[in-house]
Structures are given as C-alpha cells and as structure tokens.
C-alpha cells in the first residue's frame, strides 16, 4: 500500500475537459453521505476524493480519506472517526470497478448522456464487497460529467453502531459522489 496511489470509492459526478486522452483524473471529487432517521439527519462531505477513469479499458477507480469527511457538529465527526469508521486503522475507502456494457462508449468529442452500470469492489472499514451501481455520464462541449447515487448497509462493512444511538443512525447510508472536473493524466 505504501507507494501505491490509492484510488477508488463511491462515485457520482465526473467532469473533464480534455482532447483525446486515455486516462483522466481528479483530486477534487465530492463525496457525501446521509443517514436519516425520524430522530436525526446526519450528513458529511469530503471534497477531495481522488478518481481515475481509464477510457480505453472502461475502468474506474476512486479513493477517499475517511478523516476528510466534514460534519457540521464536532461530536458527530469524532464518533464517526473514532468509533464507527475507525479512521486511524482504516484511513481510506476505495472503489475499483469497470463498466463492460457493449454499447457504452465515452468520447470527449461526442455529446451524449449515458446511464451505465459499474461493477467493482468497494473497500470500506477494512471490508471489501462487490457492488454494482448506476452512474450517469454526460459529455457536453468536451466536458464529461458523471453522476451516481447508491447506498451501503453498515452491517456489510462491519460498522457497529452502539445500541444507545441505534435509533439515530440509519443502517442504510445514502452515498452521493460528484466530481466537478477531470484533468488529463
């Protein structure tokens, strides 16, 4: 892991200005998550996700630092890092996936909006699970943007919520990813 550039994770919107490059990336992907129950709504955002798309091989990788999620309330942020996601032990979340639909092609030169299914492995809290998510990828005026929403079950990633706050935290957390702009690698 040491020298590797960690890439991967939850995803949603990608924009890139480019000409005909095979790989594009961003260091400023935006990933947010929301947990909502009748008692409490919890939302956090991380604006520094790393994402790479290999246009030649239809591969996507995302990485995000768990400690980089920001909450409005310090107590929530502390519990998130120390008790639930244990960011000192598992500092990154990663997603590595690919889209293999035969009719999908992404070209900077062709304005188009496509809904694609991406399959891959999401590693969170030290647990890796295969997931499939849908994303909307749009090419407009040589800018590509992609968008997706999905959810994860906390139990799938061995994230334990103490019973005393179990009514405050939804067991299924909604994830939104938005990457404003990509650059050529």
């Amino acid at each position: 892991m040491n020298k590797k550039i960690g890439l991967g994770f939850l995803w949603l919107t990608i924009s890139f200005t480019a000409v005909a490059q095979k790989k594009i990336f961003t260091k400023n992907g935006i990933i947010s998550f929301t947990s909502e129950t009748r008692i409490e709504k919890i939302k956090a955002i991380n604006k520094k996700a790393l994402a790479v798309i290999d246009l030649e091989h239809n591969k996507i990788e995302f990485a995000v630092l768990i400690g980089g999620f920001e909450f409005k309330k310090a107590l929530m942020q502390e519990h998130f890092n120390e008790n639930y996601l244990e960011s000192d032990k598992f500092p990154k979340a990663l997603f590595k996936g690919s889209f293999n639909q035969p009719n999908v092609s992404i070209s900077i030169n062709e304005n188009k909006t496509q809904r694609i299914q991406v399959q891959g492995n999401l590693t969170l809290h030290g647990v890796t699970k295969e997931i499939a998510i849908f994303a909307i990828i749009t090419v407009k005026n040589k800018i590509i943007s992609a968008q997706a929403d999905f959810s994860v079950l906390l139990t799938d990633y061995d994230i334990k919520v103490p019973s005393v706050v179990s009514e405050n935290i939804n067991k299924e957390v909604q994830i939104n990813v938005n990457v404003p702009s990509f650059s050529e690698m």
């Binding site: 020298k3 260091k27 520094k48 400690g67 980089g68 920001e70 309330k73 960011s87 990154k92």
Partner: protein
Amino acid sequence: MNKFVAGIIVLAIAGGIYAYLEYNRKPADLKNKKAAAQVTAKELILLYTNYEDSANRKYLGKVVEVSGTIIRITNQPDSLVNILLGDSSLLSGVSCQIDSKHINETKMHRIGESLVIRGYCTGFLMDIELNRCVFVKQ
C-alpha cells in the same frame, strides 16, 4: 430537603446545558489549537511516499504544522481553497484545504512564498492531505 431538591435541579439544568453545548459544538478552529508536530513539507512528502504506514502512525488524525513553499493555489467555485506545499521536483505535495473561516487570508499569499500552515492530517492519496488549515504567523 429544599436545598437538596434545589441542588438536584441545578445539577440537572447544568447537565442539560452541557449536553446541549457539547451536542452542538462546531469543529475546532485550528488557529487556537496547538500542533502535535512540526515538520517540513519535504520531510512529510518523503516519509509518506516511502513509508505510508509509518507516516500514518506519526501524523494521521493529528494537528500538524507544515513549513514549505507554495507551488499552487487553487480556488474552486464551491468555496474550496487549496494550497499545495512542496517541491516541484517531487510528484506529491502537501495539499492544504483552507478552513472556510480563513479563506480571505489566502489573498495575502503568493506562489513561491515560504510559510507555515497548520492543519489536520487526514492521510495520503496522491498528496498528503491536510484539512481545516490555517496560516501560522511567523
């Protein structure tokens, strides 16, 4: 007995106020926070790019003061201001996301300037990431 009841009520009110304030506490402004470590950008980059686990044990989740040269300033429409410290000969840098309360102070700084930034270390992707950063007066 009345004093005892009054004491209980005072304690309950104090506890309620404390719980309310604690629940609504905002993340700390690092301007007033003491750093757990001081390091140069180059040292931090070399440690993270060569020994990430060891660097995490030393800096992850801690408030760190990093001295270095500004090689890039990025302003994004969603009010994300980022300063990259480092050395143009290195592939990675120290990426400092400026605390929204201190974004205005960014105007006083230029590329090529040496300075000290205090931030909360969240780890390493392509760069070492610091959040909630503030400028340290020298």
